[in-house]
Every structure is written in C-alpha cells, then in structure tokens.
Amino acid sequence: MGILEFGFARNSLLASAVMALFLPGLSFFIVTRRLSFTGVGISHSAFGGLALGVLVGINPLWAAVGFALVVALALAEAARRGVPEDTTTGVLFAGTMALGVMFLAVAGGSRVDLWTYLFGNILSVSRGDILVLAVICVACVAFGAVSWKGLLLSTFDEELARAGGVRVGLLNTLLLVLVSFTVVGCLKAVGIVLLSGLLVFPGAVGARLAVSCRAGFVASYIVGALAIFGGLALSFTLNLPSGASIILVGTLLFLASLFVRR
C-alpha cells in the first residue's frame, strides 16, 4: 500500500482530486476573460486577512475569506463604474499586502506559521479542509452548469451577451466571489503565492492549445490534473514541498505549450 497507508497522504490525494475537479474549469474562464491578474490580486489580498486574524486572535482563514471577498466585490463594483479590473487589482493587491505587513508589525511577531499560508502544504490538510474544498467545488460546478451558455457568450462578446439578456455584471461578480472562496479554500494546500499560478496555467495552456471552446475546456482539465497529480507524485517521491512541486509541473507544461504549433 506504500505511502497511502498514512492518513495525511490519503487526505492530500483526496484534496488534490477535489481541486482537480473545479480549479481548471475556473482557470479557463479566468484566463479567457482576461482576469489572470485579478485572480493573482484576490489570492494575495488574503494575506491582509491572515495577518488581521493573527492580530485580533481569530481564525486567520475566516479573516482571509472576508478580505478576499471584499476585494472581489470592490473589483466588480469598480469595473461597473468603468475602472479596468487590472487597475483596481494593482492598487488593492499592494494595499492589502501593505495592511498585512502593518498588522503583523503591530502583532509583534508571528504567532502562526505564515509560511504554510504563503506557500501551502497539501500534506497538512485535514478532513475539515477537504470538506470546505468540496463545498466550494460543488458551488463552482453548479455555477458553471447553470451559467455555461452565458459565460461562453459573454467571454466571446459582452455586447452580444447583454443583447441576449445575459446579466454580464452579475456573472462577473459571481465569478470573482467564487475565486475569493477558492483562494481561501486552497490556502492550506497550495498557499497564497503559489495558488495564483494554479488559477492561471491550466486555462492558459488550454486556451492556447485548443481551437474550440470544448477542447480548450477539456485541455485545461488535463493540464490541471497533470500538474496537481504529477506535482504530488513528485513531492511524495523526492520528498519535495508539495505546493511548489505542483506549480513547477504546471509552469513546465505552460512553457512547453509555447513551443506547440496549433
């Protein structure tokens, strides 16, 4: 039975399987809707929340949820007022990181292992963490199933989608809210810094290699699964950090895709 005799290994495999069920699909729409930098911004904004949790003595993950959610809603509102998402992201990214540094300075030294939240450790996820991931997974899959046509149409052409009665602003807001929940759900497994990669490379490779929507979506899932399970196998085999292994496999797949001619 090998390493799977251990509970932590089974948990990490289960967490990987759940992440592989929804992260690549989310990534496909993040990339094709030009929200890659926004995804990076939302994931990094969670740092401010973690530090606030440390300062006031509440569960850092709850504080991170609040921060990521506020940033996601602020991005959606700013976009509605005509401010491009990347502009707002650039400001809030730095602002929430700065807040995090301030909170930690006031707290007078870290009382939690911030390293785990920044770079993640999938071997440390508990059954409770997996349950949270599963709930987020169900929410993402349900959102995708209900909004599939509207998501595709508004990604292709927003004007056409609006004319067809698609509530583009609402879709964008819901997508960003799901990203913020995803960030917090994956914090322990992959970490703030590394998660931004996982939100981008499956969709980036899928969109680059495929000619059709369907093929692009499927390719994103294949790339996501290869990176997650390949990285985990690498981590188990060579005793390397799990989050970094997953992201490095994904990065290599992305770089390799640049040399593929369509």
Partner: protein, 242 residues
C-alpha cells in the same frame, strides 16, 4: 402590421446627455434600411433601444409589433454588434454560429452553408479573414430565422470586394428568407447601392428616404456639420486592383 420597426418621438438620455432627441422612423417589412451619421450621433444607441438594452426617456418603440424587450426574448431579432477586441476564448466558426441560441449543429452548418462558408466550420474564428468572419457572424444572426436583423457597422474592417459580397448576401437573405435588415454604416457607396431607405441620424433625424434623396452633398454636409465632398473610387477587381 406592415412595419418591422416603428419609432415615434424617441428621446434617450445617457449620463445626463441627450443622445437621441425626438427621433421618429419606421422600417417596412422586407426592407434593407441603413442608418448613417457621424460617430456619437446615436446609431448604436438606437440599435440598443430596438434590442431592449436601453430604456428610452420618452417615445414609443415597436419591434415586429412588440415591445423591444419582448421581441428580443422571442428570438425574432438577430444582432450583429460592431467587431470587438479579439477574445482569448478559443472558438470555432461552428461554435460562434451556435452562441446565444438553441441552434442544433445541423442548423448551424446549414446557416454556414447558406453564407458559403461551411468549409470553415472547424477553423478558429480568430484566424478567419475579416470577410470570412463577417459571413460566419451573419450565419449566427440568421440561424434562428429572425424577422429582423440589426447589423452595427457590418462592413467595417473588410476589403471592398468582401463588402460587396456581404451586401449581396443581405439581398439574398431578404429574397430567400424575407428578413428585414436595419444596418448602420459610414459607407456612402454601399448604402446608396444596396439599401431601400436611408436614415440620416445625428442625435435627431436629419433626413429619411431613398438614398438618391438623402445622400446628397448638401444633406451630408448638414448631417456631419461640415462640408462633405464625394470622391469616386472605381470598383476593385478580385486582386484588389482598381
């Protein structure tokens, strides 16, 4: 009910500014009608009102005998927006035709066939030439058999030969499917050659009627607010030579 579009005393205000003022117009069923006017003159806004995307401040609007929102919900109004920035979404020509409607694969292929581009069905939409992409987009408009097609600057960014092919396609659609077409354009030559009725719009309706009456130097100078001269461009051959 003989009109596909009927607008009476329409006023639209956006961001505190009057974009359309007291506009009245009607488009008969089976017409190909063109709206001309300067940028910012309200052409796209008028199309958006007809699609039910903008609620006017005042005035009466009927599309195929219904309110614009009701007409849009029935799927009887096809829309081709201005060409937008290339999306990162990988998408084939066939997928484009099936976007935002309930068309089956077979119906989509038939629409591409009608436009003469069925062989492009599996090609990436973003790798098509301007003329090919417009034919695919028009296939998306006609696939749901609309009574009215609203086309926003459909000939922008495509070469003269492709433009002529495109307008001939519109004539064919009118003949074979009875589709009424209302399009916006800056192209005086195309408008005067292919449309039944011209509407000259710059916030208010300056003139409407046959092209021969509306597209005169005096009328266009008044519409654009400055002197307008016509420059005659001899038609290009297939190789682009004049």
């Amino acid at each position: 009910m003989n009109h596909a579009v009927s607008v009476s005393d329409l006023t639209v205000r956006l961001g505190g500014q009057e974009v359309l003022s007291g506009v009245s117009m009607s488009v008969q069923k089976g017409w190909i009608a063109g709206i001309m006017g300067p940028n910012g003159g309200g052409k796209t806004t008028l199309l958006r009102v007809l699609l039910g995307m903008i609620t006017p401040e005042s005035g009466e609007v009927e599309v195929l005998g219904m309110s614009p929102k009701h007409a849009a919900r029935t799927g009887l109004v096809g829309y081709l927006p201005q060409r937008s920035v290339q999306s990162l979404l990988p998408v084939t020509a066939l997928e484009v035709v099936r976007m935002g409607n309930h068309a089956t694969r077979r119906e989509a292929l038939e629409a591409l066939e009608l436009m003469g581009v069925a062989d492009l069905a599996k090609r990436s939409f973003w790798r098509l030439s301007g003329g090919q992409a417009q034919r695919v987009s028009l296939a998306r408009v006609v696939v749901s058999n609309p009574g009215l097609a609203l086309l926003d600057e459909p000939s922008t960014g495509i070469d003269t030969v492709s433009q002529e092919d495109f307008y001939r396609l519109l004539l064919r659609l009118r003949e074979e499917r009875g589709i009424t077409v209302l399009l916006t354009s800056h192209d005086v030559g195309a408008i005067s050659s292919y449309v039944d009725q011209v509407f000259c719009l710059n916030v208010r309706m300056h003139c409407h009627g046959p092209a021969s009456r509306c597209l005169t130097r005096e009328r266009l100078s008044e519409l654009y607010g400055r002197d307008v001269d016509f420059i005659y461009h001899p038609p290009e051959d297939a190789d682009g030579h004049t």
